[in-house]
């Protein structure tokens, strides 16, 4: 092995990586938030118990869960222009990520809703709580507590998975690596550094999420 490792390229372009990491965090947060909205709408629609609607939602979930994200991304990114809809790579990527997360979020939200038994709501009513109080303290808070660990894992998975969108040149952390290695040919050093940044981000967010849990629920939910 007579390879001369040169990490100078990292220190010289630190601002580029920081910018990329910030974009990755933003994308992960935005996609998770939008995915949760989809999840709530889908879970709400499923509770109508209309076989047609429930069937369609089930189909959506199974298709997303049993096909690679990369193919979903290509479907959206290359497919939309053929419908004469021109969107930049970043928006196509966000759309694909959101559709993907929506399927997983639907399952998570459903698990949360199902964890609340009807008796709890009736108990709240018999105690004279208002509708808003029942929703906040009897339904929302316990449901969130139940799904919080799953939500945390999902968020971190999305953050790691979002590296894939660099393939369609959507700007984020992995794309900065791709861009820089094409100019400097220091591929290994750059990817090693970026991999470690992802690892750091994953740990950072795990810590932040458990801190939030401690503040909001007064304890760390079991994972």
């Amino acid at each position: 092995m007579d390879y001369d490792f040169q990490f100078n390229v990292i220190w010289q372009n630190l601002d580029l990586f920081l910018w990329g990491a910030w974009l990755t965090i933003q994308i992960a947060m935005l996609a998770t938030a939008l995915g949760l909205v989809i999840g709530m709408v889908m879970a709400g629609l499923q509770s109508l118990r209309n076989p047609l609607i429930s069937g369609a939602i089930q189909f959506y979930i199974e298709v997303i869960r049993n096909t690679p994200f990369l193919v979903q991304l290509f479907f959206v990114y290359f497919g939309l222009p053929s419908l004469d809809i021109k969107v930049p790579a970043s928006q196509a990527a966000l759309l694909a990520l959101t559709i993907n997360i929506g399927a997983y979020a639907t399952e998570i939200v459903r698990a949360g809703v199902e964890s609340i038994s009807k008796g709890q709501i009736e108990a709240g009513r018999s105690l004279g709580l208002s509708g808003f109080q029942i929703f906040t303290f009897v339904i929302l808070k316990p449901a969130l507590m139940t799904v919080y660990p799953a939500l945390t894992s999902q968020f971190i998975l999305i953050m790691l998975n979002s590296a894939v969108i660099s393939t369609i040149s959507a700007q984020e952390l992995a794309f900065q690596a791709k861009f820089l290695q094409s100019r400097t040919f220091r591929s290994f050093e750059i990817y090693l550094f970026v991999t470690l940044v992802y690892l750091l981000l994953a740990y950072l967010f795990r810590a932040v999420f458990s801190l939030i849990a401690r503040l909001a629920f007064g304890k760390v939910p079991a994972n």
Binding site: M1, R65, P68, L70, V71, F75, S187
Partner: protein, 218 residues
């Protein structure tokens, strides 16, 4: 640009699916062997072995598979001094990836076995390896099958990422066909459908095994 010939496209895609399946099998078999070693290290009594295994699993689970692929793809030529075919890089990366996740799944299965089972082994004068092999493993395997089958779906889906380092499997073939036919919706819907046909039965099977295990546990 060529005229779109459905049969021609389908045949090319099905052929490429073969390469997806081959890579998945290699990743799963290799990952299974390395994963078993990591599992044994993780549940062993040696602190150092435990830490190495734990660190490895945490590293793989905390970083994107795409970055792992690139590290292997660019790292192997540095280490060996010459380039290797994309299939080799892809296999090494996916084996390393699958091993970490399988080890984590299997660690959970081993830990689900009551500690008294180990102790019973000790009282019978069995060595650690004998206890693991003859007492713990047969029981742990049963618990581990549903999540292991479920993870197989992840492996198959994730082989799609190897298209990025130039391994021609189903997704890469879809891209190539899209470049000559300009029918992205049709091509990628077909690619997605093939993945679905391969993965969905496995997902169902995993769910069914899981349900059966839950009933038995009651």
């Amino acid at each position: 640009m060529r005229a779109f010939d459905f049969t021609e496209v389908l045949i090319a895609l099905v052929r490429a699916t073969g390469w997806t399946v081959v890579l998945s099998l290699v990743a799963f078999a290799g990952g299974g062997i390395l994963g078993l070693v990591l599992t044994m290290m993780r549940v062993s009594k040696n602190r150092l072995l435990q830490s190495v295994s734990r660190f490895y699993i945490a590293f793989v689970q905390g970083t994107p598979l795409l970055m792992q692929l690139f590290l292997i793809f660019f790292g192997i030529p540095i280490l060996l001094g010459f380039d290797v075919p994309a299939f080799v890089s892809a296999s090494v990366a996916l084996i390393a990836y699958a091993a970490a996740y399988l080890a984590d799944i299997w660690r959970g299965s081993v830990e689900a076995i009551p500690k008294a089972q180990w102790e019973a082994g000790t009282s019978l004068g069995l060595s650690w390896l004998q206890q693991f092999r003859h007492v713990i493993l047969p029981q742990a395997v049963k618990v581990s099958i549903p999540p292991t089958v479920g993870f197989a779906v992840q492996v198959i889906k994730n082989t799609s990422l190897t298209s990025i380092i130039g391994y021609v499997e189903l997704t890469r073939q879809g891209q190539i066909l899209n470049n000559v036919t300009f029918q992205p919706f049709v091509i990628f819907a077909m690619v997605g459908a093939i993945y679905f046909i391969v993965c969905y039965p496995l997902s169902l099977y995993s769910q069914r095994l899981e349900a059966r295990l839950t009933i038995e546990a009651r």
